[in-house]
Structures are given as structure tokens and as C-alpha cells.
């Protein structure tokens, strides 16, 4: 009995970790290249919206005639489209903050604001209500490994941790990325294109954050709901700082936050604490982490500073 409960909790913790991990790994690319990206939240929402819409319209001609038809490629196209849109939305952030040297926080806030208004406008146009999309039939499949059954994006997220570590710390590309984030002038002097590396970093973060969003809408759920990310982008950022901008640290931090979210789900219905208190646990933890430990995390040195080639 106890083991079953614990297994369920562990599984739901892994599920809750997945979007956080994807977004945080994305943020790692962006911040290592020296661009603060608090737009993760907004990008996740755009990714979730795109994935749900594309999946819906791809499966629509098949499902309309025979409800319940399995169209295996529909969700994968949705994931692909979400990645593209995520890169584009992050591209806006990149253009405004790199090309126009805007304050990176403000341009990201603008994207987060848009992620509230634009999906509502699109949903109104397509489905006639401004909060939810139509439900989709073909969600991402579930793959079983041992006792667990997860969406493929869960495996992908955890597999990405060593991959990202290798890319960032063991490849020339990663070295350039970090150099640009630490000391852009030095990187520039040895012929690395600072702006190009930063564009790549930000757009990669968009791709990964949108994957996290796609997991929310077509992996964990079967439709898009306005603001369904519910602050996960911001928590991912906190995990990034807590994890010292290192993939392994990020993994640990997101696991902790994910476990709290899973706990929140489990405790939500129990008589232990009022639900609001339980729901605020991850955020209180986030705040504690940021308030007490930020000084000890060493951020990439040039983070937040636009680079002007002299």
C-alpha cells in the first residue's frame, strides 16, 4: 500500500518535473549566452497553444468521420510546430534585446503579456471562447519502461540533461556560448560572433521551453487552456539559478520543485492543510531559494548586458 502510494508520487513527481526541466534547460542555453530569458513562461504558453492547435487540425479530417481514429503522426507534428513557434517567439525576444539592445527583462515581460492576450484572441477566432481550445483525440503516446508509463517527452527531458551538459561543457560550440556569456569582448576579439551565438542561445531556449509547453497541452492534457503553464516558466528560472546554471544542478532543482508540485496534487484533496497553503509551497520554496542563495550562485558575468561591438 505504502509502496504503491510512493511509486505513484514518484511517477507524478517525474511528470511534474518534465516541463520545468525542459524550460530550465532552455533557459540555460539563453542565460549562458548572456541573455536573461524570463519569457520562458510566455514561450511555454505559445508552445502549448501551437501544439494543441496543430494536433487538432491535423487529426480533424480523420476524426471528423470516425471519432477516435488514431492518427499517430498528429501529436508529433504538433510537437514539431511547437518547437518552430517557440523558436520564433524567442526570436522576437532575441531581436528586441540583441538587435535593438532593449532591456531584456522588459522585452521578456512583453512576451509574457502577449502570451496572455494573443492565445485568447486566437481561441476566440477559432473556437468561439477565449479560455480553452477544442479537445484533441490523439495525445502523445505513452511509452512503458518497467513499472512506469510516461510520455516520450518525459524521457526526452531527462535524456537531455547529459546531452546539454556535453554540449555546453565539452564541445567548441558550448565553449563559445559560455565565452559569449562571460566576456563578450574577449570572445569577440578571437572572432566569435557574439550576436550570432546569442541568437542561437535564445532560440534554443525557445525550442526547449516550447517543448515543455507542448508536453503540458498534448502530453499531460488534451487541450490548451489559457495560462495553463501556471507559473512553471518562472519556477524553471528559479531552478536555473538554484542549479547554478549547470545541467546537473538544474536537474536536482527541478526534481525538488517537481516533487513539491506532485505533493501539492496529492495533498490537494487531503485533510492535512488547506489547499491554498499547499499550492503556495512551491512558490514559497522558490522565493526562499532566490532570497537566500542567489548571492552564492555565480551568474554568467555578462548576463543582461547588451553587447556593443566597438
Amino acid at each position: 500500500m505504502e509502496t504503491i502510494v510512493l511509486l505513484t508520487l514518484a511517477a507524478s513527481a517525474l511528470r511534474a518535473t518534465t516541463p520545468l526541466l525542459l524550460a530550465a534547460l532552455g533557459g540555460l542555453f539563453s542565460e549562458r549566452s548572456g541573455v536573461v530569458n524570463i519569457a520562458l513562461e510566455g514561450i511555454m504558453l505559445f508552445g502549448a497553444l501551437t501544439a494543441a492547435l496543430v494536433t487538432y487540425y491535423v487529426e480533424l479530417p480523420h476524426v471528423r468521420d470516425a471519432p477516435g481514429t488514431s492518427v499517430w503522426y498528429a501529436p508529433w507534428l504538433g510537437v514539431l510546430a511547437a518547437m518552430v513557434v517557440g523558436a520564433l517567439v524567442a526570436g522576437i525576444h532575441a531581436v528586441v534585446s540583441i538587435r535593438y539592445k532593449a532591456d531584456q527583462i522588459i522585452s521578456a515581460v512583453a512576451i509574457n503579456l502577449m502570451a496572455i492576450g494573443v492565445p485568447a484572441v486566437i481561441l476566440t477566432g477559432l473556437f468561439g471562447n477565449n479560455t480553452t481550445s477544442a479537445t484533441i483525440t490523439n495525445r502523445l503516446p505513452l511509452w512503458s519502461v518497467g513499472p512506469f508509463t510516461f510520455s516520450p517527452l518525459v524521457y526526452l527531458a531527462f535524456a537531455l540533461v547529459p546531452i546539454v551538459w556535453f554540449v555546453v561543457f565539452r564541445t567548441p560550440f558550448g565553449l563559445r556560448l559560455r565565452a559569449v556569456g562571460e566576456h563578450p569582448e574577449a570572445a569577440d576579439s578571437v572572432g566569435i560572433s557574439v550576436t550570432r551565438m546569442r541568437y542561437i542561445g535564445v532560440m534554443l531556449s525557445g525550442v526547449l521551453a516550447a517543448l515543455g509547453g507542448a508536453y503540458l497541452s498534448i502530453g499531460a492534457f488534451n487541450q490548451f487552456i489559457t495560462e495553463m503553464s501556471g507559473g512553471r516558466g518562472f519556477i524553471a528560472l528559479a531552478a536555473l539559478i538554484f542549479g547554478k546554471w549547470h545541467p546537473l544542478g538544474v536537474l536536482g532543482a527541478t526534481l525538488l520543485f517537481g516533487a513539491f508540485q506532485a505533493l501539492e496534487t496529492q495533498l490537494g484533496g487531503s485533510a492535512l492543510l488547506p489547499p491554498t497553503v499547499v499550492q503556495s509551497l512551491p512558490f514559497i520554496l522558490t522565493m526562499l531559494v532566490l532570497a537566500g542563495f542567489v548571492g552564492r550562485s555565480v551568474a554568467p558575468k555578462a548576463i543582461g548586458k547588451p553587447f556593443t561591438k566597438s
Binding site: 539592445k101 501556471g230 507559473g231 518562472f234 492535512l272
Partner: protein, 617 residues
């Protein structure tokens, strides 16, 4: 038929209006505008006239400089608004087909084009005309603007101190996926958050906002009942009762168990030598261990046990029943309506709508004036000692934001008096000490985000002033809720779950649009009020447009302002612009000695640094 339509325009969509008019045999060539409004042509004429006026005035040497300054301050916001409205036009055209009755066909491309233009114009007309054209609409717009002035000032104040308080509003949008957690921001919660703010990491602001919304300072909800001692006693009795009541005792015991588990984990961790060494290496590990302890403890404690009874947490100020709201405030605790203050009760006038403006609005304006006076006073001093202040070159959003707050020590307090580096700084200090509020508010914010290093050199406590600035910013944000709860801007004088938490993010946009100057913030808030009021009318007038269009416009405004309106740097960089105008000798890298007063806030963070000659109307 036409008269009937005019008499009874209530809540008809355009389609219905057109259909009804056609049924009556009218020939519809243009969309029926409600109200006596300006047509697109008239509007364009006026805009062209304004352009001509500005261009003409620039020839006159006497007005050229002030005009240029005004245009410079307005250039980026104005361009951004125009760009955002243009982008929204595309969305409106895509979303909203030309309203037409069934079997009504447009003949020819020209008429179709006219129909599109009419649709677009009607949409913008709906957004602006009611608020600007009617007393009721104007008052509604003011009512929408009131909370935005507060949140805008909160963000703007933080910005002036070099901090970006995206959490101060205590809200980053309602979480519609979980209705039960959508709680209002409330006065006070953010002040608590700010006090805990030890390290001014901007990003933690988001977390503060979320906690503020979730934690929502429940105890403060009873505000308005507090002046009733009988109720206070009742609540105390309830609290005592909770400890003896079996239904409530069980969870209380579990919380104690949970704490026990956490303590146990920590003790075990201290006993294991390896873990103890790890913990000695940093508080990060300690925190992680506490987290794990809470996790494990909560899992163990939360297992269902026999004898568990479902219980509902019911705080004493909650109205009985399922509706998520508090008791209504007693009449003595309400903010009076503004007309009532002047002895007019509009409710008694038959046929007149209640003007929903309460005294929160003048309070907001007053605070705006105070906030205006404070930094300007400092700025004036700074100008007298230009060598001491940071060079204003390249003052822009990003430099402002990448810096931390700073200030100088309280000048009125001799104990903290730093060594006089520049004698100028002490001029008038005693007089200012007599004015506690402006003195506190001046708060060194002005010295501010501008030049933290210089401020520290002058003996400022960076840490304390940061906390102070954030606290004031949070206090301003907390006042937002007074409008909704004490002012009764929603249906009644009660705390409701439906308090629009999006005001927080909109406050950021307002502060940006207003260039962080109090006057600008009030103006920008009014513009937003107009747009929001118009947005709610869009819902009624159009079948396919909602107020989300307005929220999209606001987001776009922020984006464009961030990108400095996509204006070339020649125009947006004050230094380069001044050189181009010949105001500066080419070798001068600093501000010019005879800078006019307006230039000082312009150099401050966030103020759109400058401007364009080719201003848009």
C-alpha cells in the same frame, strides 16, 4: 425605422442592427455608428492638421526648444502606441468579417474595401469614443485607471531605484486553470514580501508576486470588520475553539507531526558526518535537505488514516455559502464616492448613471504628485554638482536596469551624516527634514538607479535603501486593492475572488508608457483606462472581438517601447541627438551645463531618453 434603431440601440450586435435596418427598407451603405462620432476622414484631417501645426511651430525659434523637448519625451511612447494600434488593426481585420446581414452582398471591390475600413474604424471608435465622449464613459475610464495609477507608480518607483518590481503588483495574471487559487492581491502582502527581499534579484519578483497572490494575507481580509470589537472577540473565541474542536485538531496534530519529521531529518543529517560536512559547505545544501525533509514528512503524514473526516477550512470573514467573497464592509469603512464628497448623490437623480469614481482616484493622483516632487528635488541638487553625479551618457533602459539601487544617507540625521564630499549636498537639508513624507520618499531613490557606485561612495547603504524602495513600491501596489474592496469598484464593498489581478502586469506597461514619471504614469493609466473600458464595449458591439484584443495591444505597446519604437539610435540616444542638433560641442561627453530642468528626469532610468523630430500625432 431609423428612429426606432436610434432609440433602442441596446446591446445589438452590428449584424443585428444591419439586419433590422434592412428589414425596415433602409439601404445600408455604411456601417451604422452609434453615437455622434467622428468619421475616419474627419479624424485623419485633424491628425494631418496637427502634423502641420507641429511642423509649422518648429520654424518659430522661440518655441522650437520646448517643443523639441516635449516631442522628445513623447516620441517613443507615441510611436509605440501607433505601431501597436496598427498591429492590432491587422488582427481586427482578420478576426472580424465585415458585418452584414444575410443575403446582403457587397458589390465591387471598392465597397468591400470601404466595409473593411468601416469595420476597423468602428472597432477603434468603440474603444475610444464612449470613454472620451460621454460623462458616464469618462467616469468608467477613470475607474479603470485608478488601480493602474497605483500599480504603475509602484513599478515606476521601483524602477527609479534601479529595481524592476514585476512582483510588486502581487499578481501575474489569474490562473484560470485552477479557479480556487485565483486569489486577489491584497494590501500588505507585498510589503511583507519586500521586507524579506534580501538580495535584489529581479527574477525573484515573480515568485514574490505568486506567493503574494496565493498567500493573500488572509488575516488582513477582515479589514473593515476590525473596528467592531465584538467580532474581534468572536474570532479569538473561534481560534481557541479550533484547538479543542476534534475536526480541526486532527490536522493540527498532523502539522506538528510534519514539523517533527523535518526536525528529525535535520538531526539525522547532523549526526551523519558526511552530510554534516556537506551542510557546512553551504546553506544551499541545508535548504535542499529541509526541502527533502518536508517532502518525506508530508508524504508520510498525509496518508489517509481511519477516522479521517473531511473538513473545510472556513475563515471567519468568509460569507457563508459557496460564493468566494468576504462579508460586505460596513458603511463606515467604505470609501465614499467622489460625487458624494461634494454633496451630490447621483443615485438620487433619476435616469443618471452612478459615476463610479471613488476617493481612491484623488488619492492616487496625490501620491503621484508626491512622487513627482520627491525625485525632482533630488535631481535639482544633483544638477548643481554635476561632477559628483554619474555621467548621464548612455542612460537607457538597460543601463538603468542592470544597476542596483542606491542612495545617500538621510541628510537630516547627523549621526549618519557622511563626510561632506560636496558641500552642495547639505544645502537645505534641515528644511527638508521638516517635511517627513517627501523626505522619506525622496528616499535616495533619485540618486537611485542612476549611479549606485557614486551613492555608495557618498556613504549610502545600498542594502537598506533597496529594501526601503521595494517596501514603498509594494505599499503603493497594495493600495490598488483599496479601489476594489474599500471603493466598491466591483459589484459590492467586499473582497471577491474576481478582483482583476491582471492590473499588476498592466502596471508595468503603464509605468513604461509613462516613462516612470508620475505625470506620465497618470496619463498612461488614463489611456489604459480608456482602452479597457473600450475593450469591455468591444465584447458587446462585435461578435468576434473581445477585450483580449485590448490586452494584446497593451502587450505590444510594452514590446515596442522596449525596442525604443524601432526608432534609429540617432533619435533615441540623447547624446547623439543633442550633437546632431548642435546643442553640444562634439567633444563634450557629459550633459551640458545649462540643461533645462526637464532633462533631469529624462536622464533617469526608464524615461524615454529622447526623441524624434518627426513626431507622430
Amino acid at each position: 425605422v431609423l428612429q426606432a434603431l436610434v432609440d433602442d440601440p441596446a446591446d445589438l450586435t452590428i449584424e443585428e442592427t444591419v439586419a433590422r435596418a434592412r428589414e425596415g427598407g433602409l439601404i445600408i451603405r455604411r456601417l451604422p455608428y452609434t453615437g455622434a462620432g467622428m468619421g475616419l476622414a474627419a479624424f485623419l484631417t485633424i491628425v494631418t492638421g496637427l502634423f502641420a501645426l507641429v511642423a509649422g511651430a518648429r520654424v518659430v525659434r522661440a518655441v522650437n526648444r520646448p517643443l523639441d523637448r516635449a516631442l522628445a519625451a513623447m516620441a517613443i511612447p507615441a510611436v509605440s502606441i501607433v505601431l501597436a494600434l496598427a498591429a492590432a488593426a491587422v488582427v481586427i481585420l482578420v478576426m472580424q468579417p465585415t458585418p452584414r446581414a444575410s443575403a446582403f452582398e457587397f458589390e465591387g471591390p471598392l465597397i468591400a474595401l470601404a466595409g473593411r475600413l468601416d469595420t476597423l474604424w468602428l472597432a477603434y471608435y468603440t474603444m475610444f469614443a464612449e470613454s472620451l465622449g460621454t460623462a458616464k464613459g469618462f467616469a468608467d475610464a477613470l475607474s479603470f485607471a485608478t488601480p493602474l495609477i497605483f500599480t504603475g507608480l509602484a513599478v515606476g518607483f521601483g524602477f527609479r531605484a534601479g529595481l524592476f518590481n514585476i512582483g510588486a503588483p502581487g499578481a501575474d495574471g489569474p490562473r484560470r486553470d485552477r479557479d480556487d487559487v485565483r486569489r486577489p492581491l491584497h494590501a500588505g502582502t507585498d510589503v511583507a514580501g519586500a521586507a524579506r527581499w534580501r538580495s535584489p534579484r529581479r527574477r525573484s519578483a515573480a515568485a514574490v508576486g505568486r506567493v503574494a497572490r496565493l498567500a493573500q494575507g488572509p488575516l488582513r481580509r477582515q479589514r473593515g470588520h476590525q473596528h467592531d470589537p465584538a467580532q474581534l472577540r468572536g474570532r479569538l473565541a473561534a481560534a481557541v475553539h479550533a484547538l479543542v474542536e476534534p475536526d480541526l485538531r486532527r490536522p493540527a496534530v498532523r502539522v506538528i507531526q510534519l514539523i517533527g519529521v523535518v526536525v528529525g531529518v535535520m538531526v539525522v543529517a547532523l549526526l551523519v558526518p558526511w552530510l554534516r560536512r556537506q551542510m557546512g559547505r553551504g546553506p544551499r545544501v541545508v535548504l535542499a535537505l529541509v526541502g527533502v525533509g518536508v517532502l518525506v514528512g508530508a508524504v508520510v503524514v498525509s496518508q489517509p488514516r481511519p477516522g479521517d473526516a473531511p473538513y473545510v477550512l472556513q475563515l471567519p470573514f468568509k460569507v457563508p455559502g459557496s460564493e468566494p467573497k468576504s462579508y460586505e464592509l460596513q458603511p463606515t469603512a467604505r470609501l465614499p464616492r467622489l460625487p458624494a464628497v461634494f454633496g451630490i448623490d447621483l443615485r438620487q437623480t433619476p435616469g443618471t448613471n452612478v459615476v463610479p469614481v471613488d476617493v481612491a482616484l484623488p488619492a492616487a493622483l496625490l501620491l503621484g504628485v508626491v512622487a513627482l516632487v520627491a525625485p525632482t528635488a533630488c535631481g535639482a541638487r544633483r544638477r548643481r554638482a554635476p561632477g559628483w553625479a554619474a555621467p548621464p551618457a548612455r542612460r537607457s533602459w538597460r543601463t538603468a536596469c542592470s544597476r542596483r539601487s542606491a542612495g545617500v544617507r538621510c541628510r537630516g540625521d547627523p549621526a549618519e551624516q557622511p563626510q561632506p564630499l560636496v558641500p552642495d549636498r547639505h544645502r537645505g537639508g534641515r528644511v527638508r527634514a521638516l517635511l517627513p513624507l517627501p523626505h522619506a520618499l525622496r528616499l535616495r531613490t533619485a540618486r537611485l538607479g542612476l549611479s549606485p557606485k557614486a551613492a555608495e561612495y557618498g556613504g549610502a547603504s545600498l542594502r537598506r535603501n533597496t529594501v526601503m524602495a521595494m517596501t514603498i513600491s509594494g505599499a503603493l501596489a497594495g493600495l490598488t486593492a483599496t479601489h476594489y474592496v474599500l471603493g466598491g469598484a466591483l459589484e459590492d464593498y467586499a473582497l471577491r475572488q474576481s478582483i482583476p489581478t491582471s492590473d499588476g502586469f498592466d502596471g508595468i506597461a503603464v509605468a513604461l508608457l509613462g516613462g516612470n514619471s508620475p505625470v506620465g504614469i497618470v496619463l498612461a493609466a488614463f489611456l489604459f483606462g480608456v482602452l479597457k473600458n473600450g475593450g469591455s464595449l468591444l465584447n458587446i458591439t462585435f461578435s468576434n472581438l473581445t477585450r483580449d484584443v485590448v490586452s494584446m495591444i497593451l502587450a505590444l505597446v510594452v514590446l515596442f517601447i522596449a525596442a525604443k519604437g524601432f526608432l534609429p539610435e540617432r533619435l533615441t540616444n540623447p547624446l547623439r541627438r543633442a550633437k546632431a542638433l548642435g546643442d553640444l560641442p562634439p567633444e563634450v561627453g557629459d550633459g551640458k551645463p545649462d540643461r533645462p530642468p526637464d532633462d533631469v528626469p529624462r536622464a533617469s532610468p526608464g524615461r524615454p531618453p529622447t526623441g524624434a523630430k518627426e513626431e507622430l500625432g
